[in-house]
């Protein structure tokens, strides 16, 4: 499944159409369209600060979570629990950061990242176990676990991890040595971004050149065929895919808390895990194309914030644009037969 010219054209067309529809909506609602557009473009790509501290800072979680979704979906596992796995990773990294920093110093950072990945993998592992042992569909279990994770975070920031004064429902701030380094002085872009890029390359190489990656893809293309013709243990492959997906989502959570927020609080993820489905979709589940789609969603978010701040246009329009992009990507292969990503459960 290589991104070819036709699929690239189709995706570009979909994005253009979605933005055009939203622009029409903004104009129809009586806002100054050119002002809004200028604010959005400046906020997303207008200056080095906009690119590094707004767009690319937002791209990092979208990219990692998009990859997490893609790893699962490519193996035919519908993991819609990236949100919960992200929160589990963030909570674990925060706990490690708060308690281990006085003992370990600089090395805490590595432990935070590892804890995030393990926690994300374990959170997805619950769903994997329920699927394997009790035949509970992962679509339902991963979704339910999102809400459990949100409530666990809400408990942690009011209980064991709450800041000492007890006035706010959030954790203490991580020590500077327990944070991901910033890449450029004065900018908010952190080391999580190159980590995400390396992860994208690694995932691409995994699917393209390894036997395990081939088994993932086979299982996703057709369970029955993979099991009978390919002698693949599809149940084991899907379990591994779900756990790997959770580990990546947990990594995203760890990077967000050690690179951006430095504290754990309830609204840490404004639905990143759900947006990630859109990111992965637009990228056709291809790891390198997901880099592009995550950057687009990062720019969309940064532009929408600037638009609301400087031109008074509701940021909700960006959410509409994102939804239209996904629907457009779904509609195009059906109506034009241009793009054929391998879809779980597709005829």
């Amino acid at each position: 499944m290589k991104p070819n010219m036709a699929s690239l054209l189709a995706s570009t067309g979909v994005v253009t159409c979605a933005l055009a529809v939203v622009a029409l909506g903004i104009a129809a609602a009586g806002y100054d369209l050119s002002g809004a557009a200028r604010a959005a473009v400046e906020g997303a790509v207008g200056s080095p600060f906009a690119v590094l501290s707004a767009t690319l800072k937002r791209t990092a979680p979208f990219l990692m979570l998009g990859l997490a979704v893609a790893v699962a979906f490519r193996a035919g596992v519908l993991n819609i629990g990236a949100e919960g796995q992200f929160l589990a990773g963030a909570a674990a990294a925060c706990a490690v950061g708060l308690f281990a920093t006085p003992v370990l110093g600089r090395a805490t950072l590595l432990l935070e990242i590892a804890a995030g990945m393990v926690a994300g993998a374990c959170w997805a592992g619950i769903a994997a176990l329920l699927k394997r042992r009790f035949a509970v569909a992962e679509v339902v279990s991963t979704l339910l676990l999102n809400f459990v994770a949100a409530n666990v975070v809400a408990y942690l920031v009011r209980g064991p991890l709450q800041e000492p004064t007890g006035a706010y429902p959030q954790s203490s701030m991580l020590e500077p040595i327990a944070r991901l380094p910033l890449l450029i002085d004065g900018q908010r872009l952190h080391a999580g971004f190159p980590i995400a890029l390396i992860l994208a390359l690694a995932t691409w190489w995994f699917f393209r050149s390894t036997a395990a990656g081939f088994r993932f893809r086979m299982t996703g293309s057709g369970r029955a065929a993979a099991a009978s013709a390919g002698l693949i243990n599809v149940n084991a492959v899907q379990m591994h895919a779900l756990i790997a997906s959770g580990a990546i989502a947990g990594l995203a959570g760890a990077c967000e808390i050690t690179g951006v927020t430095y504290v754990l609080y309830e609204g840490l993820s404004p639905g990143y895990g759900y947006t990630a489905i859109a990111v992965a979709m637009l990228g056709g589940l291809h790891p390198l194309a997901i880099v592009a789609s995550a950057t687009l969603f990062g720019a969309l978010g940064a532009g929408a914030d600037a638009m609301q701040r400087n031109a008074g246009v509701p940021a909700g329009f960006a959410v509409v644009a994102a939804a239209l992009v996904v629907l457009g990507v779904l509609a195009i292969p059906r109506t034009l037969r241009l793009l054929r990503p391998a879809w779980p459960g597709r005829p």
Binding site: V136, V140, V319, G345
Partner: protein, 307 residues
């Protein structure tokens, strides 16, 4: 005596919290019995809430309630077009439709606020007392001192049950969810049936969202559906895909959110957030315990070949 009032208050709050969930879960039940997983219900809920707030402010809560249903149904139509006509993956479409509903309502709300100021609270349905029945201790206070929308929901559960199990259309709908090819052999069109099921699902979800406004708060706030669309799917699984089970499941989830009031009243030491997580865990345990007894529709979530 004080205990009985407390129990009555708690059950009354439980039924109140369960009402929007019940509408949405009933919608989810119909869609899932027709083989469609619709996580776009969240979008229908929030659109229903917004539309009912706007329309109720102009034309009163009755029309507002209906408008909420229609708004939810229009989002259900979008979902149906993509899933049934274009045969796209249900989960992806559902996620996108939820985003669409949340984004649209947030944008429209801000536009409305910036042009006319925040809308004043609308007049809501008041609890409707039924002679004799409302006077029954505890039971009357809990179940028969509710807004008229809750009584509508009481009537809908047996009605949907009758429709699903005792009518040709309902049996065909369940056949589509179990074995679509058998439904085709019997002369039914799965596409048409799934479309109808999704419109009904959207309408009921919209009514659920409208309930939040016209029967409870009287105001609209962004994202006020607060994940109830996803809870509805959990309720359907917990209720083993039957109307009776869904009614019980909605009451359980409603009861847990009503515990909020009870824990404050009796000064419990249990962290409330942990209590909030229990119904999700309960659903997972219930689904795991059902291993071997296949209760979910067999063709649930499958993309059908022929539209």
């Amino acid at each position: 005596m004080a205990e009985m009032v407390l129990v009555g208050n708690f059950l009354e709050a439980a039924v109140r919290s369960a009402t929007p969930l019940g509408f949405a879960a009933l919608g989810a039940l119909i869609a899932e019995r027709a083989g469609v997983v619709n996580i776009g219900i969240e979008g229908s809920l929030v659109c229903g809430a917004f539309a009912s707030f706007v329309v109720a402010g102009l034309l009163g809560p009755e029309v507002g309630f209906l408008a909420g249903g229609l708004a939810g149904m229009s989002l259900g139509l979008v979902f149906a077009v993509f899933v049934v006509a274009l045969r796209a993956q249900q989960i992806i479409v559902g996620a996108a439709v939820s985003m669409l509903g949340l984004g649209l309502t947030a944008s429209l709300h801000r536009i409305a606020v910036s042009s006319t100021g925040p809308g004043a609270p609308i007049s809501t349905f008041l609890p409707l007392q039924v002679p004799v029945l409302s006077g029954i201790p505890v039971f009357g206070q809990a179940f028969i001192s509710q807004p008229v929308t809750t009584y509508l929901l009481y009537a809908l559960f047996p009605l949907v049950g009758w429709g699903l199990y005792r009518t040709v259309g309902g049996i065909a709908l369940r056949a589509v969810g179990e074995q679509p090819s058998a439904a085709v052999s019997a002369g039914h069109s799965p596409a048409r049936i799934q479309c109808a099921a999704l419109l009904a699902c959207g309408f009921l979800s919209g009514l659920g969202g409208a309930t939040l406004v016209v029967a409870q708060t009287g105001i609209y706030s962004d994202g006020m559906s607060a994940g109830r669309g996803y809870i509805a799917m959990a309720i359907v699984a917990l209720g083993r895909w039957t109307p009776r089970g869904v009614a019980a499941g909605a009451l359980i989830f409603g009861g847990v959110s009503a515990l909020q009031f009870l824990t404050q009243a009796v000064n419990w030491r249990v962290p409330y957030t942990i209590v909030l997580a229990t119904p999700y865990l309960l659903t997972l345990v219930a689904m795991a315990a059902l291993r071997g007894t296949r209760v979910a529709p067999a063709a649930l979530g499958q993309t059908l070949n022929r539209p």
